[in-house]
Amino acid sequence: MATPLIEARNLSVRFGVGRLTVAALDDVSFTLAPGESLGLVGESGSGKSTVLRALTGLAPLSGGSLKLGGVAVPTPRRMNFFTAVQMVFQDPYASLHPRHTVDQILAEPLAIHRIPHAETRIVAALREVGLGPSYRFRYPHQLSGGQRQRIAIARALILRPKVVLLDEPTSALDASVQAEILNLLEDLRRAFGLAYILVSHDLAVVAHLCERLIVLRQGRMIEETTAGALRDGSVKTDYTRAMLAASGGFTRVGPTAPPTAPLRNT
């Protein structure tokens, strides 16, 4: 077997101290092959974002190990880690500096990594995400939600990473804009042989973009499954089955029937 791009073993992350310690991640292991796309699902607070933050070094590991291309990843991360691994967040409003132009936003990673010919790279990066060069001089507030998410993707891709970590990249967008961004992510994946780790609460989005997925609950991996299993309903745990059932819209139990098994204080 070829060397995995990412190999995460027994990752644990704790927040807080003493009695107030929260085990945000507990013994999570997975691999990601080059060009592969892996989904992370689970209810909110289950640890999905923490997995991505642990990979990028934003959340300190209290246990476990991480390899990139077969080589152990040091903490703190070195600069070359971020030429291989980049991240796109849910909220394109919060993740772009409000007082920087698109040009400044895209120039920053190039400057940090001392990459020459910034202007050519920026124009090419904009073209890759379907935006013309005129967008260079706009500010984030002058862009629509979808355009901002395109800029965030352009910024992630400008260093030509091997893997992009996507945290709910389309959750804040309208359905029509979501479709455009999902198509863009697929095109870019094909064009550059990218691997993705995608966090989403929308199982249909995960099945659309990923071949494989892991299900988290209270920081633990409770199921590893495939997009195919989501589609034909052959998932293994009740937890995943309940998520699948809930994603099918609202089902009325009966015109006046009381709800079955009321879920309290969730």
Partner: protein, 277 residues
């Protein structure tokens, strides 16, 4: 019989120095004691419709209508005092994120009791009893413990139940819920919808459910209005998404990734300028 709500040719405009924004452009519908959905993408005018009905349009917004009536009361002619007393007692609105609509420095109990006593002349003890009963109705376990919590101590789903409890304690006849579940997990979302559904049925209320989630709204509501650029472009019967005729509605349905059936690339929505006319 007088309908619960009559809306005819409702307009909401924002005159700004750089030009007037037409947020709602002449919509009409009536509502009985039923569940009506309003869907459309962001900026289509859903929230402004809800706010105009309640009289909560922000300055410098202007509302006009041939008729806007609640239980036969002409809201366009009603003095602000009457509208304020209707709002909160007989008609009310639940917003998307309870963390922004609940008062952060008051406990859950204080807030529910205060909103009850603002509209009902009852003793503190009776108000407290009513608040506990209402929390139980939205299926909160140990309501007396939850009454003592502050909003930041609630999970999203609990916060939303508390909001619903606060809005429904005065026994309103019309509830406008603006994206009440958009900030919630899918599993919790189903539970909150089930609570709303049951309360609406038991109390014979009218509900306007505003959301961008076409599939959810169509599975929950008796009727669905589809808004585009401030207008209603189509009305659909419950569960009849497959019978949508307007190219905008069909485009919206088409561009969603689906678990049943895998299409790459996803169809995208091509907008016809004629839709906005």
């Amino acid at each position: 019989m007088t309908p619960l709500l009559e809306v005819e040719d409702l307009h909401v405009r924002f005159p700004l120095t750089e030009g007037t924004i037409e947020a709602v452009r002449g919509i009409s519908f009536t509502l009985g004691r039923e569940r009506l959905g309003i869907v459309g993408e962001s900026g289509s005018g859903k929230s402004q419709t809800g706010r105009a009905i309640l009289g909560l349009t922000a300055r410098p917004g202007e509302v006009t209508a041939k008729r806007l009536a609640f239980d036969g009361i002409d809201l366009m002619a009603a003095p602000e005092r009457l509208r304020r007393s209707l709002r909160g007692s007989r008609m009310t609105m639940v917003m998307q994120d309870p963390r922004y609509s609940l008062n952060p420095v008051m406990t859950v109990g204080q807030q529910i009791i205060e909103s009850y006593r603002a509209h009902k002349r009852v003793s503190g003890r009776d108000a407290r009893r009513a608040a506990l009963a209402m929390l139980d109705e939205v299926r909160i376990t140990a309501p007396d413990r939850v009454m003592a919590l502050y909003p930041h101590e609630l999970s999203g789903g609990m916060g939303q139940r508390v909001m619903i409890a606060m809005m429904l304690i005065t026994g309103p006849e019309l509830l406008i819920a603006d994206e009440p579940t958009s900030a919630l997990d899918v599993t919790v979302r189903g539970e909150v919808l089930r609570i709303l559904d049951q309360l609406v049925a038991e109390r014979g209320m009218g509900l306007i459910l505003i959301s961008h989630d076409l599939e959810m709204v169509a599975s929950f509501c008796d009727r669905v209005l589809v808004m585009y650029a401030g207008k209603i472009v189509e009305e659909l019967a419950s569960g009849a998404l497959d019978q949508a005729r307007h190219p905008y509605t069909r485009g919206l349905i088409g561009c969603l990734p689906k678990l049943a059936g895998d299409s790459h690339p996803l169809p995208v929505l091509t907008r016809d300028p004629a839709w906005a006319r």
